[in-house]
Structures are given as C-alpha cells and as structure tokens.
Symmetry: C5
Subunit: 165 residues, 5 copies
C-alpha cells in the first residue's frame, strides 16, 4: 500500500455503488498486467464489486483516449454507464522521438476527456526512461516502490464519489 501520496484517501469512500472501467494498452504486457491487478485490488478493497469492474483493452497508448470514449459510450448504450475510467499504459523511451510525441498527446487528450465526457478519467500512464522504472512502479521490483495501480484505483473511487449529481 502506498506510504504517501495518492494512496492516502481524505476520507472513507464507499465504492459499492460505483461502476469503474479499466482500459489498458497491450504493450509491455507483464507490467500492464501488474498495474491492472493493483488497480483491481484497490477498487475491491474500497467496496467496488467484481461485477462493477469492467476491463477492456486497446492496441497501444495512442488509442487510450479515443478508446476510453468508445468504452464510455458502449457502456452507456448497454445501460451500464461507468462512473470513472482508468486508462492504463506503459510508455518507455526508445531511440526515435515516438515516446515524446505519444506521451504528450495522450496525457493532454486524457486530461481533456475528463471535461468532454464529464466523467473522471484517471491518469494511469507510466512515462518512463527505462523499463526498470516501469517495473518498479508496477510493484514488480521487490522492496523498491509500490504498485501505482493501487493509487489509480483509489483515485477513481474518490473522484467518482465527488462527481456532482
């Protein structure tokens, strides 16, 4: 569990009435899987039921913003609207400038989607220089850092609970 930061909630939230979507990219699968698992565990610890945790995927991080909107709309159409979305991706610096342009455009598009969709969109994207940094932030390196997916799960419940009616 997080020692400081996002993981510390300002009050006890009850997630038992919330439906939370997780949408993840499929690059760097092992790290992604750990982050998704961390988010799911925290959602459950805050009372979100298994049936109310919906998980989807898209090919890469560039697809996360529009994929999140598609996801919201499909759930809406089914009569099972989401109260928050956690888009999860792992971006690692390579030799071209792909990392920089993807990180920047994805971060801003996820930020904007909060306002356009009027649903909290949590920033579950790691923007790392090395693969090891990403592994550490997914809790995969013993004794280093906690799984950031836990923070994202907590943030989703908090922000969904603060949504104006």
């Amino acid at each position: 569990m997080a020692v400081k930061g996002l993981g510390e909630l300002d009050q006890n939230y009850d997630g038992s009435k919330l439906r939370i979507g997780i949408i993840h990219a499929r690059w760097n699968k092992k790290i992604i899987d750990a982050l998704v698992d961390g988010a799911v565990q925290r959602l459950k610890a805050l009372g979100v039921t298994d049936a109310n945790i919906v998980i989807e995927s898209v090919p890469g991080s560039f697809e996360l913003p529009y994929g999140s909107l598609q996801f919201l709309q499909r759930q809406q159409a089914k009569g099972e609207p989401l109260d928050a979305v956690i888009p999860i991706g792992v971006l690692i610096k390579g030799s071209t400038m792909h990392f920089e342009y993807i990180c920047d455009s994805v971060t801003k598009a996820l930020m904007r989607l909060n306002f356009d969709a009027k649903v909290p969109i949590i920033f579950g994207v790691l923007t790392c220089i090395t693969e090891e940094q990403a592994e550490a932030r997914a809790g995969l390196i013993q004794g280093k850092m906690h799984n950031h997916g836990e923070d994202w799960g907590a943030a989703a419940v908090e922000m969904a609970s603060k949504q104006p009616k």
Copy 2:
C-alpha cells in the same frame, strides 16, 4: 508578505462579499499545508470571512483541473457558488518523465478552465526541480523566500473583484 510581484495589489480590494475555493493535491503534505495556510491568511487579511473560504482536496495534481470543475459545480448546486478557485499542488522532478507531462497538461488545463468555467482560476502549482525549491516557495526555509500561497490569495481576491457582472 511578498516584497515584489503578485503580492502587491493595484488597489485596495474588499473580499468581504467573496466566496473563494481552495482545492489542493495531497502529495508533499507539509509543503501543501503551508501553501494553503498562506493563501488562507491572505484571503482573511483582504476581508474574506472564514465561512466563505471553502477547502477541498484531490489525490494528485492531475486531478486538480477536473476536480476544480467538480468543486465549482457542487458549490453551485448547493447555492454557494465560488467567485474564484485556487488549485494548489506541488510537483517535483523525479527520474521518469511524469513531472514534465503532468506539469504541462495541468498548467494548460487550469488556464483553459478560466475560460470554460468563466470564473478566475489562480495558478497555485509549484513546478520544482528539487524539494528544497518547493519548501522555499512555501515559506518553510527561514530567510529565503515568502510563502507563495499569499500571492495566490491576493490574486484570487483581485481577479474575482474584476469579474464582469
């Protein structure tokens, strides 16, 4: 009190009729607390009543822009609309590129929110390379710099007073 800059008002403002919201992230708690306190002290010095200073929090700085909108809307729904919002966060450079992408997207989203919400949104986010820089700007290092929260409190009263009716 600020020696130069934001802290110097162009005229005497009367905050006694204004309701000001402060919304802060919860990372780097000691620094955040000092900044919030600086803002509150300055708001009071300019006549804002205790009852009209409303304080909320969000998990991290990425949540500040949408959290500010939620905050504005909840206050509106309660019949207690805010005349300005001061989002407060402390971002410190780490080893990944998280700092850069969060700083950039948060700054732009707060800027934009001014126009979308039609309420002054003050920029209360420190974007520092070291923790010491942030402490200095929160007035926590004796004899170094003043508490920037004071400037933000003054800016909130001024910008709210300049709002077209």
Copy 3:
C-alpha cells in the same frame, strides 16, 4: 508479423464489413510505400476486401490531419463512409526545427480528429532522428524490425470494430 505489441490482437476481428482509408504523405516515398503496403497486407489478412481499402495522398505530414477530414467527408458524400483512417507519414529530423513543430502539431491534430470526426484515426506517423530508423520501422532492413504498417492495419480493424453503433 509483429512479435509483441500492437500486432497482437485481443480477439479475432472480422474486417469483411469494414471500409478503411489510408492517407499518406509523399515525402520519403520508398519508406511510405513499404508502410502502406504493410498496412494493406494486414487489413486483407483480417478480411477487409480490396474494394474497401481506399488510398489517398497529401503533399506532406502537415496536411495529414486536415487531409484526413477532407477524405472522410468526400467518402461520406459519395455514400462510401470510412470506418477508420490510417494517416501515414515519415518525419526525419533535419537541421532546422521544422521536424519538432510538425511532429508535435500533427500528432495532436490526429489525436483530436478522433474526437471531432467520431471515427478512429490511427497514428501512422514515424518521428525519427535518422532515415535508417524509419527504414527499420518500415521493415526495409532485413532482420531488424517488423513493418509498423502491419500494426496500424490491425489497430484500424480493432478500433473500427469497437466503435459504438
């Protein structure tokens, strides 16, 4: 075929009912041709018919975003609407800052077009420091990397299939 990443689909998609547009810039023709070919091959492997793969071009990458919108609108007007667009361009760092400003504005405009056009827009732009990096990502250097056009073809079919009705 891709070993990991975008190329691995999360399920079997049937592209036989989809119409996919490819719009490419004309700079660095040999690399562009290989990328377009990779995308076409993958689209066909996923069931998209020859008649439903529509290929257009624009002068340079700056024209890709607005050119994609023109393309979508012309196809719409013909009664042959596109289910996804793959804009393809190859940008290589030169001695001025042209590369940086074009890469940044094109990436963000393509991201935004997803939301404005309500059609998946795949990011088929290489942002490379050297021409060799671009050749490798087009599958033109034996034994180095796979043709990224294949990933884009797969992403187009997947994202089009996930479009809410």
Copy 4:
C-alpha cells in the same frame, strides 16, 4: 523607432477612431512601465487619442489571458468596446520550471483568445533568459535595442484596422 520588423507598417493607419486596451502584469515593474510607455507613445503617434487608450493590470502573466477577456467584457458592458488588446508581461527564467510552463500556456492562451474574442490580441510578452535581455527589449539599455512596446502599439493599430466589419 524600430529599424526593421513589426515597427514598419505596410501602409498609413489612422488610429483616431480606435479604442485600444493595454493590460499588464505587475512583476518586473520598471521594465513593464517602459514597455507600456513605448506602446502608448506609438499608439498616440498613430492617432489613437488619450481617451481611447485604456490601461489595466493583473497580478502576473498567468492572469493575462483571462484578465484580457474580463477586460474586453467589462469595456463591452460599459459601451466602450476595445478594438484590440495588448497584454504585456515580462517573464524571466528562474531556477524552477515555472518560467517554461507559464510562458507556454500564456502564449497559447493569448493566441487562442484572438479567435474566441474575435478581437486582435497582440503578443506583448517577453520570454527572456536574463533580466538584461528584458531591459534591452524595453529600450532601457542605451544603444542596444528599441522598445518593443512600440512594435506592439503599431501591431494593435494595424490588426484592429484589418478587422472585418
């Protein structure tokens, strides 16, 4: 007077019917004052009357974009609409990343305001590495550079004159 550049007008403009707003930040007062003075002198030289030059201020440069909109709206409400606005600020690189994020968000927000307010907004913000650079551009260093405020005054008259009716 400017030797080349903005200062050279493409034709003789008559500012006698125009009302121009200047809104300045209050940091770096000596430099700001010189720039405002340069703009005012040039406006007058182009025929703008004293009564039609309206000057306002905001605390810092972050407040310039929304402050410009407030300014436009207040003047509109008074029945004294502005034909152009010159927001003036002086930003100087410090030890944190504050400079970078403020410069970037302010520049883009002022650019956008042109389109949203449908009134020319001139870019009167200096983004300098050193204070000396800013002094030089305010005409405060004898024999170095001209006062850039003059260019901004000329640009305001020209752009206001080119406004479609």
Copy 5:
C-alpha cells in the same frame, strides 16, 4: 523546382478556377519576398490567374493565424472567397525563448485554423536556427536548396482541389 517531396504532385491539378490567398509576415523581408515569389510562380504554373492570387501582410508571425482568419472573412464579405491560404513567415532563433514559444503557438494555431475555417491552410513558416538556413530554403543560396514557396503553392492548389463540395 523541387527534386522530391511536396513539389511532386500526385496528379495534374487545374488551378484556373481557384482563388488563393498569401498572407506574409514582414520580418526578414528579403527572405519573405523570395518565398512569396516562389509560391506565386508555382500557383501561376498550375493555372491560377494573376487576378486570383491575393496577397496581404501582417506585422509578425504571431499575427499570421488570426490575420489569416481576418483575411478569409474580408474576402468572404467582398464576395471573393479564398479556396486556400498560404501564411508565410520566417522565424529565426534568437537569444531569448521568443522563437520557441512563437513557433509552437503559430504552428498549432495554423493547424487548427484548417478545421475551424474549413479551408486548407498551408504551413509556410520556416523555423530556423540560423538566417542562412532560411535563405537556403528560400532558394537564395545558389546550388543549395530549392525555394520552399514553390512547394507551398503546389500544396495550396492540391489541397484546395481536394476540398469536399
């Protein structure tokens, strides 16, 4: 004439029915003049008549995006609407950060204007580190590079021809 790239059209375009606007900044006049001339020559070679090439100017590059919109609207109001606009500017790195912020905001605003005005806006802005780089791209250094204005003229005719009716 261009050896590769933008200069090679994908088909023969007939510009004889098109009206094209050129709007240029007035800094670095010699280079600007050469670029405007290159664009005009290419427009004529593609059949655009002298009467249908309309040339305007603005003070500096920051004014190009809004100046282009004013230009479009004035021509519209006259009953002589433009089918494409070529904004031309030359930006050269100086000692402050002015270059970076202007280049970035101008590029993105021109990109966006395509979508807002629904008319092709060609990117005719050079973003150079040295003046010599700009001269070379204006065809002013014998035996070095071709005049990029030619590419912009060709792109304007092509993009205008591809406009949906």
